[in-house]
Symmetry: C2
Subunit: 480 residues, 2 copies
């Protein structure tokens, strides 16, 4: 057909080459395009729209929990970055440095923010005097830069989009509560809206954020059995407050140091969605963040009445609050089927002359290609119900995949055997709390500690590595 734009190219199957399957999808579903700066990508309209839906839902959840949006500068003077010792050690090796403004060399070089704790601290010191100024519950939606050596779209890029929450409280208790609250917000968001089950837990000492007292994280398991850290929430105690001289006058008129938190999720969540739900035909999007929730593909489009009816159906679905697209281009129905499967549109609506005669249409759900015939009466309700079923089915399927690939082990040999036999996945095993054992498990079996889950289980009395008394049950895995 002369008007046909292009055929949808096949993508590499995930069984053949998982990494290539992933990059095929991000390119061919038109989520990103590369640029001439390594590790910096263009997020294209379809990719950015997914992020906008994530933003809108999360922003609502942040505001519902009392947070306000602000915007800090993107530049941090070197001396400011250095104020908190652990923090600068963690970040200085991977920041981009601005040394010149126009033709002039700067007196002090500035880094492009890799994260904004230091900027928030400088600000807190300016605006907080009394207990009446606390808490401050802030968030910002910005991009940050970390000069990574190896990069992959969404998963690890030199610049990425994120939100970073920063809060400051009178007491340690309040700050710890906040840290937990926001981890729960992230978990709810991932499970309810991204249909992606997560494990909530605490990072080990060696894996926590630079400058934090403790780091909480949510961990998800991808199709290939690798673990992906999907969000983190940090409790800082009063370490930053002391380093930056932030003090407040208490009700008892004493000068006290406040307690801080920060928490963030990034465009990495788009990568997580791809690797949790995608298949060999392309993206599979959870309905809540799908830019197009239903696509109408007219069949025998040029027969009288078909396009008119398709437009009616579109209007009815829009009125029902569904994000719907009618593709009336001259491409063939077959081309359109493949195109919107590639783009992960949850529901396809096929509508031809015979369907219209029967006051019906065919609904095809993307994730399982199941076809059902639906009446055109109350179609918006039918489609909405279908979108709900899709979310539940995606969640269930991801959960089953995770369960199938989670191995409870009590010895190092069991770990190695489980990974060899069933492939990569989560390993649950007991740990004494010693960093040497943590390192050795990774060295010997290849899986590192992902988190100490809040939902502890007792698998044995002793550390999987050294045999000394166990302190925690830990999730281990290979990480993105």
């Amino acid at each position: 057909m002369a008007q046909q734009k292009k055929m949808v190219d096949d993508i590499t199957s995930m069984e053949e080459d998982f990494a290539k399957w992933y990059t095929d999808i991000v390119k061919k579903a038109e989520l990103i395009e590369y640029t001439s700066v390594k590790g910096c990508m263009v997020i294209r309209p379809f990719g950015y729209a997914i992020w906008e839906h994530m933003q809108k839902i999360l922003d609502g959840m942040f505001k519902a929990t009392g947070h306000e949006n602000v915007c800090m500068p993107m530049f941090i003077p070197e001396s400011l970055l250095q104020k908190e010792k652990d923090h600068v050690e963690g970040f200085a090796p991977e920041v981009a440095w601005v040394t010149h403004g126009g033709n002039e060399k700067l007196e002090e070089r500035l880094c492009v923010r890799p994260t904004s704790e230091t900027l928030f601290c400088e600000h807190y010191a300016n605006i907080i005097q009394s207990h009446r100024d606390l808490p401050k519950l802030y968030n910002q939606w910005v991009s940050v830069v970390r000069w990574e050596k190896t990069t992959r779209p969404f998963l690890r890029s030199r610049e990425f989009l994120w939100q970073e929450g920063h809060t400051i409280h009178a007491t340690a208790e309040e700050a710890v509560e906040e840290t937990e609250r926001m981890l729960n917000v992230y978990a709810d968001f991932c499970e309810q809206y991204l249909a992606m089950p997560v494990v909530k837990g605490q990072k080990t000492e060696s894996d926590k954020f630079a400058g934090a007292v403790s780091t909480y994280a949510i961990e998800a398991l991808m199709h290939d059995g690798k673990a992906l850290q999907a969000g983190t929430s940090h409790y800082f105690g009063d370490g930053f407050a002391k380093a930056f001289g932030i003090q407040y006058q208490s009700k008892e008129n004493k000068l006290e140091y406040p307690h801080q938190t920060s928490w963030g999720v990034t465009t990495r969540l788009i990568g997580a969605v791809i690797m949790t739900h995608g298949d060999n035909n392309g993206l599979v999007l959870p309905p809540a963040v799908a830019p197009i929730q239903a696509v109408i593909v007219p069949v025998a489009m040029h027969k009288p009445g078909v396009l008119e009816k398709a437009n009616e159906v579109k209007a009815a679905l829009e009125a029902g609050g569904i994000r719907v697209k009618l593709d009336s281009s001259d491409n063939s129905p077959g081309w359109k089927f493949a195109e919107y499967e590639m783009k992960g549109v949850p529901v396809r609506i096929e509508l031809g002359p015979r369907d219209i005669e029967n006051n019906a249409c065919v609904l095809v759900t993307r994730h399982n290609r199941e076809k059902t015939v639906a009446s055109l009466d109350n179609l918006a309700d039918t489609v909405k119900a279908k979108l709900g079923e899709v979310r539940d089915a995606l969640y269930q399927s991801a959960l089953e995949n995770r369960e199938r690939r989670t191995y409870a082990c009590t010895t190092m040999d069991e770990i190695t055997a489980a990974l060899n036999e069933h492939g990569d996945g989560f390993v649950k095993a007991m740990w004494c709390g010693d960093e040497a054992c943590e390192d050795k498990v990774k060295e010997v079996t290849g899986v590192g500690s992902r988190c100490i889950p809040f939902a502890q289980e007792h698998l044995s009395d002793v550390c999987v590595c050294c045999g000394k008394p166990a302190k925690h049950m830990v999730y281990w895995g290979k990480a993105y």
Copy 2:
């Protein structure tokens, strides 16, 4: 009162020192806070919320005109910036340069985007092959950096937030149409939502954007009689396409260069709102972008029933879609009155025991302090109507201010006399089109060309400067 947080400090009056009045407002209404990096500011929750409302309205207008959001990287390699000659000449002197990533010197230095034409062009070259790929109608919400020498919050900062639209079309006609369409969108936004009248016109050759064929702008007049460029829309012709090698195959199978536009507004609009509507008691916000549209101040708050009623009123207004705050803090009503006047809240609702007895409340509009007694029945409708009246009154008052300060002049002496007698303002005068005259007008009278308005008037046959035949009527003014 022990619980009182602080008294609202007086601000400098605008008659005494306009610049100080302005910075007093941005600080004391808690819109921004300075940082240790000159020209980079913290946008605080109240300031950022204004920007969020502007964003939401504009984003809706962009999407309604067919635009899609994307996100380009923040870094531009030096060689990419240099591809279009005029463009690099205009921007290179004022960019921030990244020279190091972590501990390593970069092979090529990168600038932090001052604007993103070059990035969009690189992307277009990758994704555009055929006439079927056109047009692309893109926008992005990001921050950009320009290394200014003198800086002022919102008006001229080294980093600022903005949106930049970038579009590419098969024909010049389409691109010119787009340039005009988006200027009209900006003008509608300013007039309808910010209650700020603007003059639409074209920039002179000497004042157009680096790399543009023509630049359109909207110009507004501030309280002090100075002009503020509130938004610009550029037509590029095919100059960038040629510089970047962007070509498409036409329907007739010929290789053609496409035509481009870009257009932007920035957080400068917050400055424009302050200087258009503000007064000596602080901010005056147009209702459409006010974070709080109505504040309820309970009087004799601890009398039985007052707070209960105030909460009922709040719920009723919220149900009516009004952004409402109930201030039940222990500060005195007088303190609250001053605080929310400073913050520009359009409507104050005073509610005391006697009002409640009468099933009434007192409404006070911020801009004129007019009091009316309103029934508590259908209060949401009453307040909504009041907010509409406020918008209209603000617009009318700004328009009258501009009319009063717009001087039609036919000689240089008339210009000088008008400015001396009535103070700074817009000067309307004829111009021959010669840059030498443009420069001389500025040198002699102090006012530069602001734009050649689309709504031309015939004031005389000859140029105000040289006496040769006039080509255009021009708006002249002192600029921010």
